[in-house]
Structures are given as structure tokens and as C-alpha cells.
């Protein structure tokens, strides 16, 4: 049994990054993720790492681009408006096939929005996040333990596939405290013969680049990248099923919405309603298979989200609209209560899945 310590989500994430041998962090203050930066500011100088408060989110992601070019593990973190600024860098990193970990502790939007929890950057995170055809591996923690676990996993996947892994947390995950175990068996980093570490006059020059002016060549690069994405969809999709064996009403929820929904499912069961939950852990790749399978059996789906309904589109696609998919949501920093979700379950049960 490993020792557990009580930690804030943002801090557990930061410590996990250090354990995963990340020694370079670049960030910019923004609520509700600033604890990550503050933690790194304290820890990095003590372990010979880099903490640098950049002049902007744009500069921070480009510093990440620079470190990643040298093959070292590197990360940045921010919250929604800051992630929009990082969009340019995320696209360039995708085009140059550079690995990194990017954390978005989401707050309500659009615009400056608020500083309370939100999941309204789902589209931005899972559908690319900036110009051009690309994906990031997007993971949504639902506990402080997962804030840490998925961070370690994120670094490994980013290196394995040479791409950005994003932790898409909501403000709640960043701010809440839970006991967490930080014991990991860190795999050695893969060789990075492509890195720009100086030729040492031993090889031809390496070039990190996303420019490709010949259309045939740029097309080929895009097709290749999407072949890689297919592999990821096949091998790296993560989800949790809860009480789905005999469920008639299936909730789709991630992050804090999934925790709230679990309570609602438990209460529904007590009241004799067969409710269950599918919690996507990777939002991209989206776990379509369990939803598709469930759609052959359940009467309806409820997508519980802290957004105006973003993941619901992927649920509808995965289930090919075989049964109704309804939305149960709060936005602007509000969180659906277990009672609210329970009401939605009861309503669905009453309708018996009628179309």
C-alpha cells in the first residue's frame, strides 16, 4: 500500500510532471490554474529545472516549442482564455510533430468569462484547437489522483506519438484537495534522433519545421499524421463504465460532471431506476465504441456537461442517434447538482426512452 498525501489537484499535477522527468515549465498567471505555476516556481530551481514566467501565453507556448525541439520534456499550463492564445503554437507544434504536455484548467467563457469551473473548451480541445488539420490527445481527469496519473501518461503518450497531450481539467479538479499517491514506474524516454541538439559535426543538420510549400508533400504529411491518429484511436482510448451492465438510462459525463453524475446514478438505483454512466477519460480519441454498444440496449442517453452541449455531439455521432440523447447542463461557472441530474434521469425514465 503506497503512502497517500493530501494535495490540491493543480499541485498533484505539477508534482506528477516533475516525477515524469519534466524539467521545463513555462506559464503565465491566470485563474484557476496559477497554483501549477506557483508550485513549479518553488520546485524547479531546487531540482535544476527551468521555471519561467513568460511575457504572454503566446511566448510560453513558443518556449515550449523551443524546449521540445531539443527533445526534453516540457509543459505549460493555462486556463481557457490563455489556451486560445496558445492556439497558434499548438498548431505549429502539430505541424512540426513536437511532443509536449499542455494543461487547460477550464473556466467559464466566452471572452474573459468568469473564473469558476467550466467544460466549455471541449470543442476547442477535441476538434483541433487552432488552424489546420490536427488533433491533440485530450484527457479529462475526474479526481486529484487522475490529475497526477494522466499527467504522467500524457508525457508518455506525447513522446510516443510526437504530439501534444492536453489535460482538459475543469476548475474544480484544479482546486479541490484529495489524498493522492504519487508512486510511478516512469518508463525511459524514447530516443529522439530528430531533436535539434547540435549536430556535434556527427550527422547532417536536423530541421524542426511546419512549412511545406509543395502541395503534394503537405498532403502526404497530413495523411501520414492522420494514420498516426488512427493508431491512437485504436490503442489509447480510455473510459470508465459505471453500472452499465443492465442500464436503461446512460449518462455521458467527464470530469466534475461525472462525479456529480455518479451520485445521481447511485440515488436513481436506490429508487429503482436502472441508470449507468460512461465516463470518457480520453476526450480525443473519443470512446465511441462503448457508446455505440450501449446504444443497442439503453433507452436514452443524457449528456451532463458544464457547457451548452459540446460533448453531446460526439455522443450522438457515436450512437448514430439510435435513441434520444438529451442535455443536462449548467454553464458560466455553475455545476449541475446530483439532484438536477437525478431529475433528468427520472424524466428520461418516465418517457421510457420514447422518441
Amino acid at each position: 500500500m503506497s503512502d497517500k498525501v493530501l494535495m490540491k489537484g493543480n499541485e498533484a499535477l505539477a508534482e506528477a510532471a516533475i516525477i515524469a522527468s519534466c524539467r521545463h515549465y513555462f506559464g503565465y498567471p491566470i485563474t484557476p490554474q496559477t497554483e501549477v505555476a506557483a508550485y513549479m516556481a518553488k520546485r524547479m530551481p531546487k531540482i535544476g529545472g527551468t521555471f519561467l514566467q513568460a511575457e504572454s501565453e503566446i511566448a510560453a507556448i513558443n518556449m515550449v516549442y523551443g524546449v521540445s525541439s531539443t527533445g526534453h520534456r516540457v509543459m505549460t499550463s493555462s486556463s481557457s482564455p490563455g489556451i486560445s492564445l496558445k492556439g497558434e503554437g499548438l498548431s505549429y507544434m502539430a505541424g512540426a510533430d513536437l511532443p509536449a504536455l499542455v494543461v487547460n484548467v477550464q473556466r467559464g467563457g466566452p471572452g474573459l468569462g468568469g473564473i469558476q469551473p467550466s467544460q466549455s473548451d471541449y470543442f476547442q480541445a477535441t476538434k483541433g484547437g487552432a488552424h489546420g488539420d490536427f488533433h491533440m490527445i485530450v484527457m479529462a481527469p475526474a479526481s486529484v489522483q487522475e490529475m497526477a496519473d494522466l499527467t504522467v501518461k500524457g508525457f508518455e503518450l506525447a513522446d510516443k506519438y510526437r504530439m501534444t497531450a492536453m489535460i482538459l481539467a475543469d476548475g474544480t479538479m484544479g482546486q479541490m484537495m484529495e489524498p493522492v499517491s504519487l508512486e510511478y514506474d516512469i518508463k525511459p524516454m524514447p530516443e529522439k534522433p530528430w531533436a535539434t541538439t547540435g549536430t556535434k559535426m556527427q550527422r547532417g543538420h536536423n530541421i524542426i519545421n511546419s512549412l511545406s510549400l509543395v502541395p503534394e508533400e503537405l498532403e502526404r504529411l497530413n495523411f501520414e499524421r492522420y494514420k498516426k491518429y488512427e493508431q491512437i484511436e485504436e490503442n489509447e482510448t480510455l473510459y470508465e463504465e459505471y453500472m452499465m451492465d443492465d442500464a436503461e438510462i446512460c449518462i455521458a459525463a467527464f470530469g466534475i460532471a461525472a462525479r456529480v453524475s455518479k451520485n445521481a446514478v447511485n440515488e436513481a438505483r436506490r429508487q429503482g431506476i436502472k441508470a449507468g454512466l460512461i465516463r470518457p477519460i480520453t476526450l480525443w480519441p473519443f470512446p465511441s465504441a462503448p457508446f455505440k454498444k450501449a446504444s443497442e440496449r439503453v433507452k436514452s442517453f443524457i449528456s451532463v456537461e458544464l457547457s451548452m452541449g459540446q460533448m453531446i455531439e460526439d455522443v450522438r455521432l457515436a450512437t448514430e442517434c439510435r435513441v434520444p440523447v438529451t442535455l443536462c447542463n449548467r454553464v458560466g461557472g455553475m455545476i449541475p447538482s446530483p439532484e438536477m441530474v437525478l431529475e433528468a434521469i427520472k424524466e428520461a425514465a418516465k418517457n421510457g426512452g420514447a422518441r
Binding site: 521545463h24 518556449m63 524542426i208
Partner: protein
């Protein structure tokens, strides 16, 4: 006897620059300096977006292509991760003094131990001759067809003067490459900017007044004259900051 050859730090790839453009000269000077200091194997260059976007094909050292204006931030990352390596950026005026102003100013303020070669040719070359942050008052470009009207588009940004007000940077010098004497001075400044990094002194920027005959609508020869007659009076050559030398003087 060989009296003139290609620097080792340049590749054999034919450059795409227009006839009469001085990018080729500056590339050569940078490469000669890399050769003379014997640092090619541990040098990483950062190319910008603009005419020199494909500089990554021309230098033999490891190269990174950055987003528009972000080269100093990328260089910061590279240098922090591998402090033993020599990191330089090669940027034009639109890249460094317009879209990347924040990255430039803050890398200087941090005295980031990197070398910046800044090509000021008072125009956006790659996109076909639009007004640059450094276009002269009254200068006709595609986007200032009636001449740069300072009441509407403001005044040119004088990068060396602006950065010299900061406590951060180690070394700022403006040079030109329009005649033999100036080219020799430019080489000296570029070498110093690299040597400073080797010595751990910090942020060194060399602004190089360069020509763009194609977009200025001048012959190569007249373009070099234009640097003399128009650019140098507005952008005086010289050392704007040399902290180590200043310290020596006060001893």
C-alpha cells in the same frame, strides 16, 4: 591557392533570395563567424517567417522554423534546455519589430543569453512589399501607396534605441551591409554578438540595415545608395549598448 570559398556553416542549397538582396551577404557573415568560432556542431539557429523563412535550408547547423515573431521565445526554450549550445535567431523587421515585439523586448529584458541577427530592410519582402514597422516616413509601399503617413500609421520603430533603454540587454549595435567598409563592421558586430553568448554575457542583437531592390523598385546599386541616403540618416549606425565595455570604461 584558394582565396575565397563557401563557409562550412552554409549548405550547398541555392538560395531563393532576389538578385541584389543583401540577405545572402548577412547569411555569409553569420556562417563565417560560426566557422571562425568553431561552433557549428553546437549551434542551433531559429528561422523566422518572412523572406528568410527558409534560412533553415541554408545553414548547416541544426535549425528550427518558428512562428511569425516568436523566434526569441523559441530561442529562450532551446537555450534554457541546452545552455551549452549556441542559439541564434535570424529575423526580419516585420517579424521582430511588429508581430514579435513582445517576444523581442522581453528576451532583451531577461538578458536571455542568445544572439539575434535583425534584418531591417524597411519593408515586408516575402508578401510583396507592404509597409513595415520600420518603413520610413513617406515611404511608398503596397499598403502605404501614398507614402507612409505618420499621422495615420505612426512612426517607425527604432529597435536599437528602444531596447537600449532596458537594463537587460548586453549588446546592441546597428550596422549596414551597403559597402565594403560597412560589411566589415557588420561582420565584427556579428562576431561579437556570438562571442558574447560564448562568454555567457547575455542578450546580443545586431540590427543590419539591408536592401530590398525588388520591393523598393530600385536597381541593386541604387538600393545600396538608398540605404546610405535615406536609411542611415534615420537609423544611425553604431553601438547602442555594450554593457561589458561600459563596465571596463568605468574601471
Amino acid at each position: 591557392m584558394v582565396v575565397f570559398e563557401k563557409p562550412y556553416a552554409l549548405t550547398d542549397v541555392p538560395m531563393h533570395y532576389c538578385p541584389g538582396c543583401t540577405h545572402g551577404i548577412v547569411h555569409r557573415l553569420v556562417a563565417e563567424v560560426i566557422d571562425e568560432l568553431g561552433i557549428e556542431g553546437r549551434t542551433v539557429g531559429i528561422a523566422p517567417v518572412g523572406c528568410s523563412v527558409m534560412a533553415y535550408n541554408y545553414f548547416n547547423c541544426d535549425m528550427i522554423e518558428a512562428a511569425h515573431g516568436r523566434a526569441p521565445a523559441v530561442a529562450t526554450g532551446v537555450k534554457r534546455a541546452e545552455p551549452e549550445n549556441i542559439v541564434f535567431t535570424y529575423q526580419g523587421d516585420g517579424d521582430l519589430a511588429s508581430i514579435g515585439t513582445a517576444e523581442t523586448v522581453h528576451a532583451a529584458a531577461r538578458n536571455e543569453n542568445i544572439t539575434i541577427i535583425f534584418i531591417n530592410n524597411a519593408i515586408y519582402g516575402m508578401t510583396g512589399g507592404q509597409m513595415a514597422p520600420t518603413s520610413l516616413p513617406g515611404q511608398i509601399t503596397q499598403t502605404s501607396p501614398y507614402g507612409r503617413d505618420v499621422t495615420q500609421c505612426g512612426f517607425p520603430v527604432k529597435v536599437c534605441e528602444m531596447l537600449s533603454e532596458l537594463d537587460g540587454p548586453e549588446y546592441l549595435e546597428r550596422v549596414a551591409v551597403n559597402n565594403v567598409k560597412n560589411v566589415k563592421n557588420a561582420k565584427k558586430a556579428i562576431k561579437k554578438a556570438f562571442q558574447n553568448q560564448l562568454d555567457g554575457k547575455g542578450f546580443s542583437l545586431v540590427e543590419v540595415l539591408s536592401s530590398c531592390p525588388t520591393n523598393w523598385g530600385l536597381t541593386p546599386q541604387n538600393a545600396l545608395k538608398w540605404i546610405d541616403e535615406k536609411m542611415i540618416p534615420y537609423y544611425p549606425l553604431g553601438v547602442y549598448k555594450d554593457r561589458s565595455a561600459a563596465k571596463e570604461d568605468t574601471k
